[in-house]
Amino acid sequence: MGQVEEPQLPDKASLGSRDRPRNRVLRDAPPLLWVVALLVAAISMSPLLYLIVRTSQLGGTLFEILAQKRIWTVFAQTGLLTIVVTITSVFLGVVFAWITVRTDLPARSLITILVSLPLVLPSYISAFSLIVVLGPRGLLQNALSGFGVERLPSIYGFPGAWLALTLFTYPFVFLSVRAGLAGLDPSLEDAARCLGRGPWQTFRHIILPQLKPSIHAGALLSALYTLSDFGAVTLLQFDSFTRAIYVQYTASLDRSVAAVLALMLALLTLLILAVEFGRPARKRYYRSSAGAARRAARSALGKWKFPALFLCVAVATIGIGLPVLAISVWLIRGVVYGDEHLGVHGTVLLDSIFASSAGALLTVVAAFPVVFLAARYPGRRTQGVERAAYIGHALPGIVVALALVFFSARYAVGLYQSFALLIIAYQVRFLPLAIGALRASLLQINPRLEEAARNLGHTPREVFLSIILPLARPGVLTAVALVFLSCMKELPATLLLGPTGFETLAMRIWNATEEAFFARAAVPSLLLVCASAIGLSIVLSNEQKGVAV
């Protein structure tokens, strides 16, 4: 952005017609900005491209691998898990949203918080608590042994994975449907009732169709998360893609199978995204009455009050209660038995914080040129760059990690198992989070401010430092906090790419749980939950502070 002369890029078709002219600077983007943004987008795209290259080099072996029955078993199991988890999440999410927004359920606001909380816990902590409480010789079985119960149904495999992932993903649907319900125009329901439809028919024909976009959005997030999850399925020993990839990677010298599995997983994810975004343009859902509409009436739950309360309490207990119980019980046991590895070595905390800080900084710095280009020079080409940078959202962490391992092993041996490669993986994975947070605050800055500053004799670099950066600060802080938090919780990329001797909180929880040293997972879990809570409160308070410019 530091150049003086602005060459004319012949660019007529690129400026989309739907852009709001007020937010647009009608200059062509500086070439340096293009170069940096394209570089960032290229890094984001490289894992997928490299996996394709690597798989295509297999030649005939590819078909031998694809002929193996177990690969298709993994495929079917992953598909089944994704479908079942998504359906359960949609059911729980819609029910919770409805009863907290539109009924007279007691303690609605408390229940709203309780049922959203599981989102804060990484899935491997949910898995850890399920194993500790419901697993063989777990807390529940111990409690029941007095009654002669010798065996509980096994938590490992499909049931555990289903439970852990549903608990983690239904809040996506819940939050999105809540927002959708709040935006509904109650006068449409009134109209339906006046036209002689009962409450159930009104819900089915009027409300549900209008909620479809929010349900879709939530379901998409649930499905994508289920596909990408590593922590829960590995700990609960369910053979989905991510676990199969990891097992293949660690167990065999020939990593071709892992590469094929990773590419299949990436393509499956992209296929779901393509289907979702390829659907015909959505109908517009809007309030017919502008301005402050009347609030929708709450319907009485009547005899359903107690079943509804029971469902809420049950889910909140499993989602939040079990982890709290598991962590505290094993913390106490660890202290009582005097486990010398109970505490977390300072280096683990330092490794976590250092890697996450570096990841957050690099990711936010890399997001800036992409966001700036797309927000200030909107057009098809700049949008393409932004979309390319979003690919990390669709690639499961283990896929990104594996691609980078292959790439460094072949082309950059010096990078293999280096700290730098881990940070690049974080950047690829979490760039979309940073872009999302920065974009909103950058779009709020009137481009006239930049022009005024230029006009007052400041160079583009000075304008960036003295005007844009201070004004975009809430967005920058949110982006840093979000990415930092995600890096702290990240597991598969950290496991695969972490340098020798490097250990984060997430790795420690996972290792301890896998080896059944449950007490050793308690303290890092507690630290991680605290870090999540602090990070989330920073993000939320920033959102409130964001001022329109």
Partner: protein, 355 residues
């Protein structure tokens, strides 16, 4: 010594193939308070932004104080042009207080303290130094924007629709203030407006833009009395038009033989302002009053000519009584304008030759 603050030569700018500014040439003398007048979307703001360096012209050149800043592959960035600009929505930096906003264009801290209070003094806001932009009224924000643009001591200041965000009552006062502030600082100012009254009353030099082209430039008086086309005439105010035949310094029309301002021969159209038409009480007059709008300080009569054409007459004062249906005669004492009927307008005169 170059006597022009700004010289634009053959400027052109297109956006996505759509021409916004077409072959604009204009020279502006030092010390002028110039208005760039035109309907919305005519390219006047783009011309302003070209001068400021916020847009790059496709062709043509711009000189500021005799030094080339745009054209022939050269494009001096806005921060190096020493041109002040006041934006339509003021663009005050929301994270800086009034004093910081004004100081932003000043380089060294040493000079800035004195300069900031001096400039704020000039716009009458010395007591608001530490307010934040959102704590100011619209008029105050506008003055801060003006002070910020003036503080670095530019030789030229550009104002983009400076009054459009103010309500009507405030606008009158702010206009007068702005005029005196700009006069006192002796700076060359160009402001963009779509309001003809604003342009005529404030500016000492006026350029009319239509569809990307500068169609006429001159003093407000000159443009109002002697517009070169039908469209310019209507854009600058109420006008009457009648088909006429030019014979040198006279024109024949339905009203008889009228003196014209500019020599013209052949078929054409005469233009005269409603205030030039003086009604005469005459029960047998050729003209019938078909409508009357009473404003208090003046009144507007709609007179029907024998041919059926309607002509407007504006009478100052409120005392003369006219009735609808009444017949009157008229008198036109001043010479009228005449031009070719369609858009075949004569060549542009040198803009500065009228002063």
């Amino acid at each position: 010594m170059n006597s022009y603050a700004i010289q634009c030569h053959d400027l052109g700018k297109t956006f996505r193939g759509e021409p916004a500014v077409i072959d604009c040439s204009i020279d502006i003398r030092y010390g002028r308070f110039m208005a760039l007048l035109g309907p919305s979307g005519c390219g006047k703001t783009t011309l302003l932004r070209l001068i400021a360096g916020l847009e790059t012209p496709n062709h043509g050149s711009i000189h500021v104080g005799g030094v080339q800043v745009s054209g022939t592959g050269k494009q001096v960035p806005p921060e190096k042009r020493k041109i002040g600009m006041v934006f339509q929505e003021y663009a005050l930096f929301p994270h800086m207080n009034v004093a910081q906003n004004v100081a932003y264009g000043l380089r060294s801290n040493g000079e800035s303290n004195g300069k900031v209070s001096e400039t704020l003094d000039m716009v009458g806001l010395e007591h608001l130094e530490f307010r934040m932009p959102h704590e100011l009224s619209g008029g105050q924000q506008q003055r801060v924007a003006l002070a910020r643009a003036l503080a670095p001591g530019p030789e030229v200041i550009l104002l983009d629709e400076p009054f459009s965000n103010l309500d009507a009552s405030l606008r009158q006062r702010v206009r007068a203030d702005l005029r005196s502030i700009v006069r006192r600082s002796g700076i060359t100012a160009i402001f963009v407006t779509h309001d003809q009254e604003e342009a005529l009353s404030l500016a000492d030099f006026l350029a009319v833009m239509m569809e990307g082209e500068i169609v006429q430039a001159g003093t407000p008086r000159n443009l109002y009395l002697q517009p070169e086309t039908h469209r310019i005439a209507t854009f600058l105010g109420d006008a009457n038009f009648l088909p006429a035949y030019g014979k040198g310094l006279y024109a024949e029309c339905e009203l008889g033989k009228l003196q014209v301002l500019n020599g013209f021969n052949g078929d054409g159209e005469i233009m005269f302002r409603p205030e030039d038409v003086i009604p005469i009480q005459d029960p047998n007059g050729k003209f019938k009053i078909v409508d009357r709008i009473y404003y208090g300080h003046d009144q507007l009569l709609y007179l029907q000519l024998p041919s059926g054409q309607i002509m407007k007459s504006r009478r100052l004062g409120s005392r003369d009584a006219y009735d609808i249906g009444q017949r009157v005669g008229i008198r036109i004492d001043t010479p009228v304008s005449i031009f070719a009927t369609q858009f075949g307008c004569p060549a542009l005169p040198e803009p500065e030759s009228h002063s």
